[in-house]
């Protein structure tokens, strides 16, 4: 940002009238602002927010905020082969995402917490430059859940909550005609400073009301996993060869809904896309991939370590509730409920995990 | 004078009739627009809809499938199968809003060199006002 602002860095609490939200968005002109927009089928998805139509009375976006930071398609590099005086030259050009500061409004706490999980995956001893170029330019403005978007929410079972702050720069809580604004990072503070005059100091009853709204939201969550993180991981370790996976995956259709729409799933494929053959010109592109497709692990010899649906359902649960737990001590699931609600045949990981907890006891 | 738009046409020509017809046109030094990229196929019945969609995907401004007149097919029934399949492809492409002129089918026998040049001339004339095909094209 142009002028170096002095940022206190501590957490600020403000009040923003709902009707001033569009003018706040209008002030954020040096960012591309995304907000949920409803399509004709009552489904919500992020779209560039026209400053007049910004509204946050949405339930949950079908595609999580992950899709704006880890997009379905990411160009890695461009290659061009030119024949110059009988010698072939091959030029390989890195293509990093451009300079595009982004603010995403209406990020549910479960989606934001999932992004903090992705931050772990894409760092470590090999840092992913494409993810981080976008991640560093993205500011997440969360909206705490008043009522759970659908009855399959289970964030309380994955060490999260309808008002968790992990991964967010600002957390808004809907108090009816106003938002309780809580800045959590310097980026959050920067956004509030950009339209200081719109924000007011919170009254004591606002603070009380926020706690009430948060507590109320927690009580409304009806579904949850019986097992606790450590016990589930231990139970799963002993159930690799259990018949449970075959029974529960009988109706699986091997599609990509549960993983593409999962806010924490990050598996991908890398392919070359050829635009012209001679002279050879094309791009190396990353696209989403997922462990439920049959050929995800197939060797070019045809040997496939995970040949059937049972082994693939097992992989989805083991990776999220055992491998990731034993590597990062965090569950790679934030209980957003998308895979449970949108699976065409109703495979329900809450039910499967409860069967894991009941196994052998 | 602004460079006039020259449409690129991918034409699937049946080897026994239409391709022979186009050879005849060439041998007889007939004048006709050079916009066609001919692809010789064994029979119009062997033209898979995937080839047609792929041609548009790769930037063709127009696609032509040309085979033998009903009854002339070297394999007896190939062109009858093609007639049904290509008709469905044409209806599908129109349904999603592609300009109907961009996808044509014709019967051209080995002797009809003049008809072949006529079909191409008309096709080019119809495509010119439409400009380049950008709808289904893969953007580089």
């Amino acid at each position: 940002m142009k002028t170096p602002e002095t940022l206190s860095g501590e957490m600020m609490e403000k009040i923003l009238e709902k009707r001033s939200l569009p003018s706040w968005v209008k002030k954020l002109d040096s960012w591309t602002v995304y907000a949920p927009r409803k399509d004709e089928n009552e489904r919500w998805n992020y779209d560039i927010a026209g400053s007049d139509s910004v509204g946050l009375d949405f339930t949950v976006t079908t595609l999580p905020a992950k899709a704006l930071i880890f997009p379905q398609r990411e160009i890695f590099l461009e290659f061009l082969k030119t024949a110059a005086e009988n010698r072939e030259t091959l030029e390989v050009k890195e293509v990093l995402p451009g300079e595009k500061p982004v603010v995403i409004f209406g990020v549910r706490p479960c989606d934001a917490k999932a992004i903090s999980l992705l931050d772990k995956v894409f760092s470590g001893d090999f840092v992913d430059p494409y993810y981080w170029t976008r991640r560093k330019q993205t500011i997440l403005v969360g909206l705490a859940c008043g009522t759970p978007p659908w009855e399959n929410c289970f964030c309380l079972s994955t060490e999260g909550s309808p008002h968790s702050e992990e991964g967010l720069d600002i957390l808004l809580t809907d108090l009816g005609d106003r938002y309780f604004v809580k800045t959590l990072t310097e980026n959050g503070e920067k956004l509030v400073n950009r339209a200081k005059d719109l924000f007011k100091e919170p009254r004591p009853e606002d603070k009380k009301k926020v706690k009430a709204v948060h507590a109320e939201a927690e009580k409304k969550i009806v579904r949850g996993i019986k097992g606790v993180k450590k016990d589930l991981a231990a139970k799963l370790r002993g159930m690799f060869d259990s018949p449970l996976w075959d029974e529960e995956s009988m109706s699986c259709l091997r599609c990509g809904i549960c993983t593409y729409l999962c806010p924490s799933c990050h598996c991908f494929d890398i392919n070359d896309e050829v635009d012209s053959v001679s002279p050879l010109h094309g791009k190396r592109v990353r696209t989403w991939d997922n462990c439920q497709f049959p050929d995800f692990t197939m060797h070019s010899s045809g040997h496939n370590p995970r040949p059937d649906k049972a082994s693939r359902l097992r992989q989805r649960l083991f990776h999220k509730f055992q491998y990731f737990v034993e590597t990062y001590d965090k569950i790679m699931c934030t209980g957003c409920g998308r895979c449970v609600s949108l699976c065409p045949v109703g495979i329900d990981i809450i039910k499967v995990l409860d069967k894991v907890s009941d196994h052998g006891s | 004078m602004a460079e006039e738009f020259e449409p690129k046409i991918v034409a699937f020509l049946c080897k026994w009739c239409s391709s022979a017809g186009s050879d005849m046109a060439g041998v007889s030094r007939m004048e006709y627009p050079p916009n066609v990229v001919p692809i010789q196929v064994m029979c119009s019945g062997s033209v898979s809809p995937l080839y047609i969609f792929s041609a548009f995907n790769k930037g063709a401004d127009g696609v032509l499938v040309s085979g033998c007149h009903p009854g002339d097919c070297h394999y007896i029934k190939g062109n009858y199968y093609a007639r049904r399949r290509i008709h469905l492809v044409k209806k599908l492409l129109e349904f999603i809003g592609l300009e109907p002129q961009r996808f044509q089918m014709s019967w051209v026998s080995a002797a009809e060199a003049t008809k072949y040049t006529q079909v191409i001339k008309e096709f080019v004339k119809e495509l010119k006002p439409l400009g380049p095909q950008t709808k289904l094209r893969r953007n580089p």
Binding site: C267, H299, Y323 | -
Partner: protein, 274 residues
């Protein structure tokens, strides 16, 4: 952001040797990085080779780290990328990124006898550690190689194996008898049982098709080798090579980053999904 892990360095092919012809063709490539900056590697590490327009393929580096002036890859023609490599000529440019994987812990094997057991293209990952051990022979016990292939035509490094015979013990085998073949006839695991290597103070390293590895390990166990004396490489499908894309994930490990070299003691505890 420092160097982008996904961008390969350009390398020129300086030599191509056809090891095996026919449908299961194997060629050995020697490559040199074009604008100087390459990378050093350890025995048993791999590199992601890029044929632009076709894709990438993880191939083990078969030259020893002591060889500085080229990187050597022996490649079995298997799919899209490897077939494209087989059509390349000397002077063509490819992309190489790496080195990836943990490699063989050679320095932990000082003073031990080394028993190499390879099958078909499996000799390629073994070759880098074998050549390195051979180069400082004094630091290790005696070296033995048991290597087999389907037919005599399918044997790789034919010339190198010939002169290797007067430097260390080499037992070869082919699956089916051929006229003029005096050595062992049968599968590699049977050859191992036939030769009965003694497990005392020995490390066994085996690479080859998964089915062969399974029976070689069984044979070694029958010969009372301990789990931590047996090492192998896991050849899972790999795409990113840096433990992110999920393909080669077994248990807590990403084979491309935490493997591909495992002792049987470690591999036994991982889920049997490879």
């Amino acid at each position: 952001m420092d160097h982008n892990v996904y961008i390969p360095k350009l390398a020129k092919i300086i030599q191509i040797k056809e090891e095996v012809g026919g449908a299961r063709a194997i060629k050995t490539f020697r490559t040199v990085f074009t604008n100087g900056h390459g990378f050093d590697h350890r025995c048993g590490q791999c590199a992601m080779l890029s044929v632009f327009g076709k894709g990438e393929s993880m191939i083990s580096i078969s030259s020893s780290p002591l060889v500085k002036d080229y990187l050597q890859f022996s490649i079995l023609k298997m799919g899209r990328v490897t077939s494209a490599l087989h059509e390349m000529e000397v002077g063509d440019l490819i992309g190489i990124r790496g080195p990836y994987g943990n490699g063989f812990p050679l320095d932990r094997w000082k003073g031990k006898k080394l028993l190499f057991i390879g099958g078909g293209i499996g000799l390629a990952p073994i070759w880098s550690v074998l050549q390195t051990a051979l180069a400082n022979k004094g630091e290790y016990g005696d070296l033995t190689l048991i290597y087999g292939a389907r037919t005599s035509k399918d044997i790789v490094f034919k010339e190198e194996l010939a002169d290797l015979k007067n430097k260390m013990t080499v037992f070869l085998s082919i699956d089916v008898a051929e006229p003029g073949w005096e050595e062992f006839v049968g599968f590699v695991p049977q050859n191992v049982l036939d030769k009965k290597p003694a497990p005392a103070n020995t490390i066994a390293i085996t690479c080859g098709p998964p089915i062969m590895i399974k029976f070689v390990i069984k044979a070694l166990k029958d010969l009372t080798f301990e789990d931590q004396q047996i090492y192998t490489t896991v050849e899972n499908k790999m795409k990113c090579g840096i433990g992110k894309c999920g393909r080669c994930n077994i248990g807590l490990h990403y084979v491309c980053k935490d493997g591909p070299v495992y002792s049987w003691a470690e591999l036994k505890r991982l889920p049997q999904e490879y």
